[in-house]
Subunit: 334 residues, 2 copies
């Protein structure tokens, strides 16, 4: 399989490292082009990954790499290469999905499978992308958008096939779970825990997406739309983050043997499927009770297979890259 | 897809019920023959499931059903039908694997995919069956052998693809987990808890396979041989059951905030993979701590995806039947 990779941020570079690390096992996965915002390289025989990783340590601009170029047009790059799978890992824009949305469409139009770790385009037009994939007879892998290494979608899709999903529960945001764990374990107030998480590089300088619940909402939305074949939009999701949680709430929960977690819940209200994200009291006998720190988990409630939970997964860029590889290999399988 | 079903015990009948229940969704899955130990029916247009379920409520002998026959030979039945998938759910024999082993081989030889819930043949000759499947270009689904509804193999196979599995942990036997939970929650001694589980139909009259750890050992063996591509045999597994656990041990564990669970562990000892089953003290922050009652769980330790646990799944014959359906649908997918 010949892979074209667009986007050389943390996960993109980790993906190259991963392929280099696993080259004996997956040597038939070649990267035939690499693109970042304003430069790129193509090599139909497969780019020498070790060389390019060395180069990327010191440089961002690929145009000075052997055979590199500056401006590019994705359509032309794909046609000049022999890629059959596009890995799209450009920065996320949750309002427009661009430029990732156009890249994904372009890849599919030409007949490439696409694997993305980008929530933006999936949020904006998952239905359209699925439709396009179907028309073109290609696959769309989105596992890395919903919890990185956690096989929330791959595990659910194959592990629950044939059952009807009646509901979903998820602790899907590592940052807020880490902050809440710090509050409980270290006795810190919210702002202290947040700033500690920021100092440790776990929370972002602007933590809004995480702490106000949007990241969880987006993941729940993608999981629910994918697994339950729905077309719910973000503005239909009821969202409450953790910014209102004080150390008093944490201690009160602890006193009755419970914990507070930022929980996403997808459930039927009559015939209508709803999604809600809110800080929830978790009983000590819940399987989510021990999902601590940066850990994540999702639980599916089904008609015939019972309740099945998938927990864990490495919370780092290598884990996210391994999630991309998983999608590629599952696509290649059939 | 045309299915031939052999074996009409609890799971076999639940499988027919499941297909009847889901006929609107999976109407293109037809059962074209049904066989039990000394009778059978064939209908290449698809057997009317409701009728046969009604009949089976009162009768075991299919030879008096319309078009039924008594003696049969699987090879001839398959050739007289248009089956492309054999579902093998006959009684388990863990010493010889027979007659299931011959049935599975026969199905594959003729070119049928095979899905089985039978541990016997997988235990005796998984390697040979995999080899035969490969030669014949067919698939072998064995998900129902390792925890019923729990997607221990499907979730692991697709959810962890591309990672290297470094170890496996599992609480895979519902009966022993139920007994240990009863001991803790009701303060019962081992024999009291066992006999309560027997009265409730959870433990068998002869509970040896469960309480002495063999069932867990077999499931760990199948999971490990499948997922880690090994060829370990049952006599290489170190097995200790729960018969030596008294209420004192349970209470001692409780006092230090722990629980005892019958745990299977697959791990590398140097270069060599080992499997061990034993009652283990589980910390209260372990994800297995809250796997209580008949619940099951498996955790994979991987190189790139971190630690991923799959927990839950309905512990009943419908769940086991749904596991068979899952394998069929995953096979049909590609």
């Amino acid at each position: 399989m010949n892979i074209g990779l667009i986007g050389l941020g943390g996960v993109g570079r980790a993906f190259i490292q991963l392929l280099e690390m696993k080259k004996e096992e997956f040597g038939n996965l070649r990267i035939v082009f690499l693109l970042n915002s304003n430069s790129g390289i193509i090599d139909c025989d497969g780019i020498e990954l070790n060389d390019v990783l060395e180069y990327l340590k010191e440089n961002k601009d690929l145009s000075r790499y052997k055979g590199g170029f500056s401006k590019w047009n994705l359509d032309e790059v794909i046609k000049a290469s022999n890629a059959d799978c596009l890995v799209e890992l450009t920065p996320t824009n949750k309002e427009t999905g661009e430029p990732a949305l156009s890249y994904i469409r372009c890849g599919m139009e030409i007949g490439l499978h696409v694997v993305t770790g980008n929530k933006g385009p999936i949020l904006i037009d998952y239905k359209g992308l699925k439709q396009l994939a179907k028309e073109k007879g290609v696959s769309l892998g989105i596992g890395a958008t919903t919890g990185g290494a956690l096989p929330s979608i791959a595990g659910g899709e194959y592990g629950l096939r044939g059952s009807r999903i009646l509901g979903v529960r998820g602790v899907l945001n590592g940052t807020t779970n880490y902050i809440l764990s710090l509050m409980e374990e270290e006795g810190l107030d919210y702002l202290e825990a947040l700033s500690m998480a920021q100092r440790e590089g776990i929370a972002e300088a602007n933590p809004k997406m995480d702490v106000e619940g949007f990241d969880t909402a987006i993941k729940m939305l993608i999981i629910s739309n994918t697994m339950l074949n729905q077309d719910i939009t973000l503005d239909e999701v009821e969202i409450e983050g953790i910014t209102g949680i004080g150390i008093g709430d944490i201690e009160e929960a602890k006193m009755v043997g419970k914990r507070i977690k930022l929980m996403g819940e997808t459930y039927y209200d009559g015939d209508r499927l709803k999604i809600r994200v809110h800080p929830k009291l978790i009983d000590k006998d819940s399987i989510f009770y021990n999902v601590m720190g940066k850990n994540k988990g999702v639980e599916y409630i089904t008609d015939t297979l019972g309740e099945v939970a998938i927990l864990g997964g490495a919370s780092n860029v290598l884990g996210a890259a391994a999630s991309v590889l998983r999608d590629i290999l599952n696509i290649r399988r059939w």
